[in-house]
Amino acid sequence: MTRRVACWRLPRNSGPPSMTGRDVNANTVLGLVVIALALIVLLVWIPLDTESGILEQVRRKVTIGDAMEPSLAAILMLVSGILLLVEPGGPALSPAHLRWLAGICGILVLGFALIRWTGPVMAWLWVDGVEYRLLRDTAPWKHLGLITGSIAIVAGLIAVVERRLSVRGILVALTVAGGLILIYDLPFDDLLLPPNGDV
């Protein structure tokens, strides 16, 4: 039994989207972004967010300060940005890539929310006067978040590729959750499955 879900559509067999063919040189755009980023890091972030400078005098002795390493990294990025300006071509990120990334992140955020809150919400609904923190070492409470989160993430991602939510995807997700419980929870008393280290 399968059910169609409204997920974002990707054109099939269209190849990776790129800006090839347009007048914009992708490497030039990337180079400008990198230069801007490097300058912000070098001129704003590092001076405002490090305690010592590039070189620091402590008790009349000069030492390398905490700003040295990130400054060199930013200079390296600046050089790479300048080199990118003179390097033609290169692939670019397209809106389709960003939409894909947003979709993947949406599934992961939903999965993380389920992992984090399924157990506490179920405990609040079904167990009077006992907060989830006291149940986090008790089956099945401690597994609820992982199971629902696995279904959202694993079955969700399979559904995105298959363009339908399938029973097979959900079964795979349940098997993965079961496997993780078998690997981490049953043999080890001191290991905590998500989200039990945070509650």
Partner: protein, 535 residues
């Protein structure tokens, strides 16, 4: 203790180390069991298109640390398992390449050129035996070179390089990696610069954790496991899923993919000597090429396979013009490719063990394992020894050599049989495998870090890894620079202090000056020589 005592102690640490279980009163060492498990697991993942050695190492590492803990007793079982995976994956990659024209690992692509035509002729079994024989030979050769060269190189480094020279050597390694990996020097530098910058966040010597924006979340820095797994594994999963969604998940993604060939009807039990003899010159040449390539940080097994195949093709056309040509199902073509890509796996530990510089993704995970467990810091100091004091790191180093030879022994004895039984792995759909890998990775990281913040970090770095791949920026310089960033800063601080606060400490010694000039030259030369790729 002299050197032979250390070598023997290393062997004993493998065979008489912590016991995993006993059978009929016979104690089975955890290290031996884990090398065997890792090797079989490696063949399994290598034979599965979409997985690969680094991915399996990434997933296994947190599980292994959970099992064996953080004591020094854990080092050999954990690293032995990772070494087994690394070696097994190289062997396993040839299976789908030969049987289904789909390389299990990127470096097995050239194996398809001769392997699949042989399979189509009904010689699949023979092709697999040729691949296994060549792979095991190349791997063994490169391990022997590692065992001979790494201590020698490390001793040279310790004897002749002081702090300024070591700083310059780290700079040279980073610039070399940035210049040679990927298609653009600018992008290599960008990747390395980002890696060093990320390594700087939340660290430093001041009371205030630098670049932490005043937040507690960044004040501890990024967990190494979240950064490395995010960029290397999640980035690849995000890209792989998108490619599958675009191409139609049921269809193969590789150009030239063909339906499976007929099952091998060649019932040969052993590869006869007359079949092996013509392969030997190709195996010898490719093993040397693969070892030389593997010893240089940043140059992967795919280049080794390409060079080995090209060199073999030229010799084959000249010496045997009447024989079957490369690319049309010549066993010599499989031998040249497989010996070269397998010879990389041992040699790429030369820079890791002698200099502490990881050269590829597999080496990154070995360093990560050593860092996570503690008690072993890969680098020249590992091979420091004198008669009066015991250096436990040297025992571990010899133990690692013993695990590599043990993995080779397993490869020669059961590797071929296991490899040939893994054809079924190609049937696992990649679009199901990748979400499973993602969930396993997330859970493994949580178990190790025990906070949801680590999962957000790993997703953030996964997005970075995806963007880098889409922009054709190799993530490997980022990861290597992230690992080396802290060490580079620490060595530079010590060198600066040791030279009496000389701001030109990198230029005062001839060796460090040469290294600095080489660092700049390698970037300039690579930029100058690289063909422009205007679209």
């Amino acid at each position: 203790m002299d050197l032979l005592d250390y070598a023997w102690a290393g062997v004993l640490a493998v065979f008489q180390g912590p016991v995993l279980f006993s059978i009929f009163g016979l104690s089975i060492s955890a290290t031996i069991a884990m090398v065997l498990f890792g090797f079989l697991n490696g063949i399994f993942v290598g034979a599965t298109p979409g997985l690969g050695g680094p991915m399996a190492m990434a997933i296994s590492l947190p599980i292994l640390i959970s099992i064996f803990g953080f004591s020094s007793d854990a080092l050999l079982p954990v690293m032995g398992c990772l070494i087994g995976i690394m070696k097994g994956a190289t062997v396993g990659g040839a299976v789908p390449a030969i049987l289904f024209n789909t390389p299990g690992t990127p470096d097995a692509y050239l194996t398809t050129l001769d392997g699949y035509p042989m399979a189509k002729r009904g010689e699949a079994r023979r092709a697999l035996k040729v691949a296994h024989f060549s792979s095991a030979s190349g791997d063994t050769f490169s391990d022997l070179v590692l065992i001979l060269c790494a201590p020698f190189l490390a001793t040279l480094v310790e004897r002749y390089l002081d702090l300024p020279e070591k700083t310059a050597l780290l700079i040279l390694s980073l610039s070399f990696i940035a210049a040679v990996i990927g298609g653009s020097v600018a992008k290599g530098l960008l990747s390395a610069g980002l890696g060093i910058f990320v390594a700087a966040i939340g660290t430093g010597e001041d009371f205030y954790p630098r670049l932490s924006l005043g937040t507690d979340m960044l004040a501890q820095g990024f967990p190494a496991v979240a950064v490395i797994l995010g960029v290397l594994i999640l980035g690849e999963v995000f890209r792989g899923l998108e490619d599958l969604a675009r191409s139609g998940y049921g269809r193969p993604t590789l150009p030239g993919h063909a339906p499976p060939g007929p099952p091998g009807n060649d019932k040969i039990r052993h590869l006869p000597w007359q079949d092996r003899r013509p392969l030997l010159p190709h195996i010898a040449r490719s093993a040397m090429i693969g070892t030389a390539v593997g010893a240089l940080p940043g140059i992967g097994s795919t280049l080794a396979a390409t060079l080995g195949h090209a060199a073999g093709k030229r010799r084959h056309a000249r010496k045997a013009p009447d024989a079957r040509a490369f690319g049309t199902g010549a066993p010599e073509g499989i031998a040249a490719t497989e010996a070269a890509n397998s010879a990389v796996s041992g040699a790429n530990l030369i820079p890791v063990l002698s200099l502490g510089i990881p050269g590829n993704a597999a080496a990154v995970f070995l360093i990560l394992a050593a860092d996570s467990i503690g008690g072993f810091n890969p680098g020249p100091a590992v091979f420091r020894y004198n008669q009066d004091a015991v250096n436990p790191e040297l025992i571990i180093a010899f133990g690692l050599f013993a695990t590599m030879l043990l993995a080779n022994l397993i490869n020669w004895t059961v590797g071929g049989t296991v490899m040939r039984s893994m054809a079924i792995m190609t049937r696992i759909p990649k679009h199901i495998l990748l979400p499973v890998v993602l969930m396993l990775t997330l859970t493994s990281i949580y178990v190790q870090e025990t906070r949801m913040a680590a999962l957000w970090f790993v997703i953030g770095f996964g997005i970075l890894g995806y963007v880098m791949r889409r922009l054709d920026i190799s993530p490997l310089p980022f990861v290597i620079a992230f690992i080396l960033g802290g060490r580079l800063e620490e060595t530079a601080r010590q060198a600066y202090a040791a030279t009496g606060n000389d701001p030109f400490f990198l230029a005062t010694s001839p060796i460090s000056a040469i290294f600095v000039v080489m660092s700049i030259s390698v970037i300039v030369l690579a930029q100058y020589r690289r063909p422009t790729t205007a679209s």
